[in-house]
């Protein structure tokens, strides 16, 4: 078993066997999380700081819970309300926190590459909890774990990713991960919501849901990130729902046992039909949330092992 990384910044740097290692460990943490007999002490004595420069409820809660279930001292900072407002730069904030010697730094930032930048400046392990429209590795890993548990494998599946792919770090990380594990990836979106150069990603691109969902094993819906839109990417919500919103009729084109995923938070009636989202036979959305905690526990566990294995470097 090898997982030779100091930070978890993206899926791009992970090898397939490392992904499997992490998912195997996460599987064990699923049962541990369900256990009611109190917390493990894997991260006992370590300090975890969550720095969220962007609003987040579920991801932050998930990381916080993951840390606490393993006995870490967890501190969450709402960065939007603090020093950034006072004009401090990202790096200065990071150096300030670094001086307090945390062991794990969980970062979410509205700009691509922010987690990479921080990782260059601090001594602790950095986990990217989403940077701009670049990567969101733990989301892709929890999606992978959910798929593997439901489908019994994580290869040779047809996965349709639908919606606002252009603005989505979740889509990028998932495309990378599903590729590494040798799956067939289909992107379904109007051309305005697809990133440039998509033809070079090695994916199939469809502009139509019927075609895109045909024989899919997994249907992954993305949130229509309206807060990121300059405006004018789609004509209206109702037209979007009509053409790209997932409902039972469109899902009928996928395989009979296809599962429906969504990274949340959902816009019911915009990208997904409410009844479908609640259908426990098809929708695995709640399970994704549960896997999220387990995957984050596994990721922090692996990084902490590497942290303990090497003597900490003293910054000049």
């Amino acid at each position: 078993m090898r997982f030779d990384h100091r930070h978890l910044l993206g899926i791009a740097a992970l090898r397939p066997d490392e992904i499997v290692t992490l998912l195997d460990l996460a599987d064990r943490y699923v049962s541990q999380s369900r256990d009611t007999r109190g917390h493990a002490q894997t991260l006992s004595g370590l300090t975890q700081i969550n720095m969220f420069f962007e609003n987040s409820t579920r991801t932050q809660a998930s990381f916080e819970l993951a840390g606490k279930r393993m006995g870490a001292d967890v501190m969450s900072m709402a960065m939007q309300a603090s020093s950034i407002k006072k004009g401090e730069t990202l790096i200065d904030t990071a150096l300030t926190l670094n001086a307090m010697h945390p062991d794990l730094l969980v970062v979410r930032h509205p700009h691509s590459g922010a987690a990479d930048l921080l990782a260059q400046k601090v001594n602790c392990a950095v986990i990217n909890a989403g940077d701009g429209r670049h990567e969101h590795p733990t989301q892709a890993l929890l999606d992978a774990l959910t798929i593997r548990r439901r489908k019994g494998r994580l290869h040779r599946l047809t996965v349709a990713i639908c919606g606002d792919i252009a603005h989505s770090r979740v889509a990028r990380s998932n495309i990378l991960l599903l590729h590494k594990m040798e799956n067939r990836v289909r992107l379904v979106a109007p051309p305005t919501l697809l990133p440039s150069g998509i033809e070079d990603f090695g994916v199939e691109v469809c502009h139509d849901m019927t075609e895109g969902l045909k024989d899919a094993d997994v249907v992954m819906m993305l949130r229509l990130q309206r807060e990121r839109m300059d405006g004018g990417f789609i004509p209206s919500e109702r037209e979007y729902y009509h053409r790209y919103g997932l409902d039972a009729e469109k899902l009928a084109h996928a395989k009979d046992d296809a599962i429906v995923m969504h990274p949340g938070p959902m816009n019911r009636g915009v990208e997904i039909d409410g009844t479908l989202a609640d259908d426990i036979n098809r929708s695995v959305i709640q399970e994704q949330v549960e896997m999220g905690v387990a995957v984050r526990m596994a990721a922090m566990d692996l990084l902490a092992r590497n942290l303990r294995a090497r003597p900490s470097e003293i910054m000049a």
Binding site: T89, H111, S112, A114, D116, S196, G197, D200
Partner: protein, 436 residues
């Protein structure tokens, strides 16, 4: 330092003559700040000591070329003197073989009145060892609403007019400014970009930008900006120089405009000739320039356009930024790179790779910009100002950004292996830089 009035003979040199398009072995006699005579080797009058020179300098077989005329240098006075001053930029230019700096007006405040222009002219002449010629803004405050006092500014010494990277979005404002400038024969330096399409773009659209999750702009925005401005040139008869043409798609319309006889020229930057989008790698902000670095196909097309002369001018687009403006996430980081001191060795990469020969390189660096501005430098001929650079085209070194003379050290070439070192720079026959 050489006395300006004492005749100086620089002999045993490889002379680059961009006008004739050749490199010859020979010597140059400098008198009263100008080139008095150019000798081809062998020249018996030199060997026999019949040339009336008080001082002789053996160039040791190294290359002597017309000094670089750099259009579009940002010097951060007034406003951000901690990033670059006339003193530091002048020293960097001299060390880089740049003998004439054409400054940009995108300072804080912008150079948009004869009074501010007067200030920087004075600073330029007292603090910089090289020639400094200023550009002025085309519209007040570079805001794209009202034109500046183009006539007064020309009288005060403005050699061209530009709003730099603030593209004038209102076509009516631009057409009027162009018409008015055309009446005065003023040169406009335009930045070809369609402002709506390129808004917020930090990288060139394509696979790389998408994988990195960077907001990107299609190179088509450059072509559209160029198309619009060429149409306005046709309408108004204005003289326009495009500061940076960097995309293959922008070349056919440029070629058409020239073929139709419009008074247009184009430049490109040293960075777009030597780097591509992949160099940004893991969000290296020193590689963030405006327009963003392009694909390798674009870079190759632009090199070819410089070779054929379709692109006339190469500039450093020297843009000093302090560490604070660059140590930010890529999208937030400031654009631009310093280039005065590095442009010659960096561009010699194209010479060593066989892409451009020395006369072609100096046609784009010295002759063409000089001609476009109506100056008489940039030539290796009797009568031209003795603005010269002596350099060793072969000498290898590793660039250390902290040794640059600019106050700001934001070069993408830190640690790069380069070949070519400036040995001496002369402005008006006077030595302004000697390599240690």
């Amino acid at each position: 330092m050489t006395d300006t009035h004492r005749p100086l003979l620089i002999h045993n040199a490889r002379l680059v003559d961009p006008e004739a398009g050749r490199v010859t072995e020979g010597a140059v006699l400098v008198e009263d700040g100008r080139i008095a005579q150019v000798f081809d080797h062998p020249a018996p009058e030199i060997d026999e000591g019949r040339v009336p020179a008080d001082a002789r300098r053996d160039a040791g077989g190294k290359v002597l070329a017309p000094g670089i005329v750099d259009i579009g240098v940002k010097i951060c006075e007034p406003g951000e003197r901690h990033k670059e001053s006339y003193g530091s930029a002048g020293a960097a230019a001299a060390a880089g073989g740049v003998t004439t700096i054409i400054t940009r007006p995108d300072t804080d405040p912008p150079i948009d009145t004869p009074e501010t222009l007067e200030f920087i002219r004075r600073r330029g002449s007292e603090a910089a060892p090289v020639r400094v010629l200023p550009m002025a803004a085309l519209t007040k405050g570079r805001a794209g609403r009202e034109m500046t006092e183009i006539g007064f500014l020309m009288d005060a010494g403005a050699v061209a007019f530009s709003d730099c990277d603030h593209v004038i979005a209102d076509t009516r404002v631009l057409s009027r400014a162009m018409s008015y400038a055309a009446g005065l024969g003023a040169l406009i330096v335009a930045h070809p970009q369609e402002p709506g399409l390129s808004r917020g773009g930090a990288a060139t659209s394509g696979k790389f930008a998408s994988l990195r999750g960077l907001p990107s702009v299609s190179p088509m925005a450059e072509r559209m900006g160029l198309d619009r401005d060429v149409a306005l040139v046709e309408m108004t008869g204005a003289r326009v120089h495009f500061d940076q043409v960097t995309a293959a798609r922008a070349l056919p319309p440029l070629e058409r405009a020239k073929r139709n006889g419009f008074d247009v020229t184009a430049g490109t930057s040293m960075h777009h000739l030597t780097l591509n989008e992949m160099d940004v790698a893991d969000y290296r902000t020193f590689f963030k320039v405006k327009p963003p670095l392009r694909s390798e196909d674009d870079r190759q097309a632009v090199i070819e356009a410089v070779r054929t002369g379709l692109i006339d001018v190469i500039s450093s687009m020297h843009t000093p930024q302090d560490e604070e403006s660059k140590r930010l996430p890529f999208e937030e980081a400031a654009s631009g790179a310093v280039g005065l001191e590095t442009m010659l060795p960096v561009l010699l990469r194209l010479y060593h790779s066989g892409d451009l020969d020395l006369p072609t390189l100096f046609r784009a660096l010295s002759l063409a910009p000089s001609r476009r501005l109506g100056l008489d430098s940039g030539r290796m001929a009797a009568g031209a100002p003795a603005d010269l650079v002596l350099f060793d085209a072969e000498k290898p070194f590793i660039l250390d950004r902290f040794k640059l003379r600019s106050k700001s050290k934001n070069t993408p070439f830190d640690g790069a292996r380069l070949q070519g070192k400036v040995l001496a720079t002369f402005v008006g026959g006077l030595s302004v830089f000697e390599a240690a």
